[in-house]
């Protein structure tokens, strides 16, 4: 009984005393927080505070050095969409936009060698959403930074079934597309019930759209609802400081 409780959770994701480190250097220590189905969690914090590292740990790309991450029932691999902050995609990689977006559908079809008609429809829909349908056959290496970001977002949307992890999704996007982006993420969350975990430096967007906030600085400085966060002293310090810039 005791043991069963230890490794299961009623939440979608539960982190218990999670520590992450690179070569013995701890970047995040003793993090406790939970993510529930339908949450819109915004992770904020300064540069180097361990946000991207935490995202990688949630994706099982990085192993915890302490504590544990427990996934709730029904959240399988291939149901999480992911937009990396930085990719080590080579600048000269030959791939068309539609090839990249379609590759987001792979996690689902476990043993089909080719893309199904449904996959293609899904990819087309997400390209439409991101406004990149007209460049579907253009080579990825010839795009601008913002266009690349949109392509990777469309790919993440193809992969997302229950949850989407976005590491600074709007960096490099123009204001119009940024707004559209936030609207779309909100729609995914509100209308489709998708869990959203987003890393952002944009405090105003964080408190506008998120339902929960996780503030990191080598450890969890705040975790709770947006409403509590706005009242907390840590928000005043950071958001206030932002406005002075």
């Amino acid at each position: 009984m005791e043991k069963a409780l230890k490794n299961t959770t009623l939440h979608q994701i539960e982190c218990r005393n999670l520590s992450l480190s690179y070569d013995g250097r701890t970047v995040l220590e003793g993090a406790d927080f939970t993510v529930d189905s339908g949450d819109y969690l915004c992770i904020v914090g300064e540069n180097g505070s361990g946000k991207s590292t935490l995202i990688k740990a949630l994706l099982s790309l990085k192993r915890p050095s302490g504590g544990e991450i427990i996934f709730g029932e029904g959240l399988g691999k291939g149901q999480i969409g992911y937009l990396p902050q930085q990719t080590n995609i080579q600048r000269d990689f030959p791939a068309t936009v539609s090839e990249v977006v379609l590759s987001g559908c792979l996690g689902k079809s476990s043993f089909k060698p080719f893309y199904s008609a449904e996959d293609k429809k899904r990819a087309a829909m997400n390209m439409e959403r991101m406004g990149i349908s007209d460049i579907a056959s253009v080579c990825y290496r010839e795009l601008s930074g913002g266009q690349m970001q949109r392509v990777l977002l469309a790919r993440a949307l193809c992969a997302a079934e229950k949850m989407i992890l976005l590491d600074e999704p709007v960096s490099g996007l123009d204001p119009l597309v940024t707004k559209e982006m936030y609207r779309m993420i909100e729609e995914l969350n509100r209308c489709y019930g998708m869990t959203v975990i987003m890393v952002s430096h944009d405090f105003s967007a964080a408190v506008k759209y998120a339902t929960k906030i996780l503030h990191l600085d080598r450890s969890v400085k705040f975790f709770g609802t947006k409403e509590d966060y706005i009242k907390s002293p840590i928000f005043g310090r950071f958001a206030g400081g932002n406005e002075d810039d």
Partner: protein
């Protein structure tokens, strides 16, 4: 010209020439497909390292009196897994480690040879390829190999793309990228071990690199590059082997020279194509 063609046709009455065409063509096909993934992952040094290991293994097999292929295949496959691990581990300086292993195996091979036969024409053919090295067993093996590689590539094409394009995303989406990478490295090892005697140890890694690079000059889609690289590679192999017959050149050297010429042509085509677009 017609003269040359009829001379070439007369060569086809020799069994070893036909064998060389089959093995050379199939090995080129496989290595070009594998090369697309290796080059794009910046791992083409693995091919070079493996060919040197294969040379060392082949030389050792001769000394020990073992069957060349049966001895070198497992050695090269193990080396492939090792090299992959090393090249992933950037802290060790992947390229330096690969250079170390490949020169060490080359040294072992040369010592093994000089202890027995000494440097003779046999060694020359190990290094730069020869037409007459092929036997029935090699033909059957290379057919089995290339069918396997082709099926593997066709079946997992989209997954290979995903893993090559963005490994961490592929992993996050639940693809077992380690498995694909290990499979590609192992099949590359087998391809190299089989192709080594037609193409030669010093030159076979060119077959991994050249077709992919040439195709990348012209094509902008992964599918286009894969198809173009494999077709180009087979064409270059046939032209090279023909030249090798007609002018009695070392087979591997002839094939690589044709590949190099194709690369130059494709670079020019790519430049023209891009400037027309603007």
């Amino acid at each position: 010209m017609i003269d040359m063609l009829s001379t070439l046709a007369s060569y086809f009455s020799y069994k070893f020439v036909i064998c060389a065409f089959i093995v050379g063509g199939l090995v080129s096909l496989c290595s070009s497909l594998l090369g697309v993934s290796l080059v794009l992952r910046r791992c083409s040094m693995i091919g070079d390292g493996l060919s040197h290991v294969a040379f060392g293994a082949l030389a050792l097999a001769t000394v020990l009196g073992a069957s060349p292929l049966a001895f070198s295949l497992p050695v090269v496959v193990i080396a492939a897994i090792l090299l992959l691990r090393i090249s992933e581990n950037s802290r060790m300086g992947g390229d330096a480690a690969i250079a170390m292993i490949s020169s060490a195996s080359l040294a072992i091979g040369v010592i093994a040879i000089s202890l027995t036969t000494g440097m003779n024409t046999d060694v020359n053919s190990y290094m730069f390829g020869s037409l007459s090295a092929m036997e029935d067993g090699d033909v059957i093996l290379s057919i089995i190999l290339s069918v396997t590689v082709l099926l593997f590539y066709l079946f997992f094409f989209n997954r290979i793309f995903a893993v090559t394009f963005d490994e961490s995303f592929a992993k996050a989406a639940g693809l077992r990228s380690e498995l694909y990478k290990t499979a590609i490295a192992m099949v590359t090892a087998i391809t190299i071990a089989i192709g080594m005697r037609v193409i030669g140890a010093m030159l076979i890694s060119a077959l991994v690199i050249f077709p992919a690079l040439s195709a990348m000059r012209v094509f902008g889609s992964f599918k286009g590059v894969a198809v173009c690289a494999s077709v180009l590679s087979v064409v270059c192999a046939f032209v090279g082997i023909s030249a090798s017959c007609l002018f009695s050149l070392p087979t591997g050297a002839a094939i690589v020279a044709v590949n190099a010429a194709a690369f130059i042509i494709f670079s020019v085509i790519g430049k023209v194509k891009r400037s027309l677009k603007r």
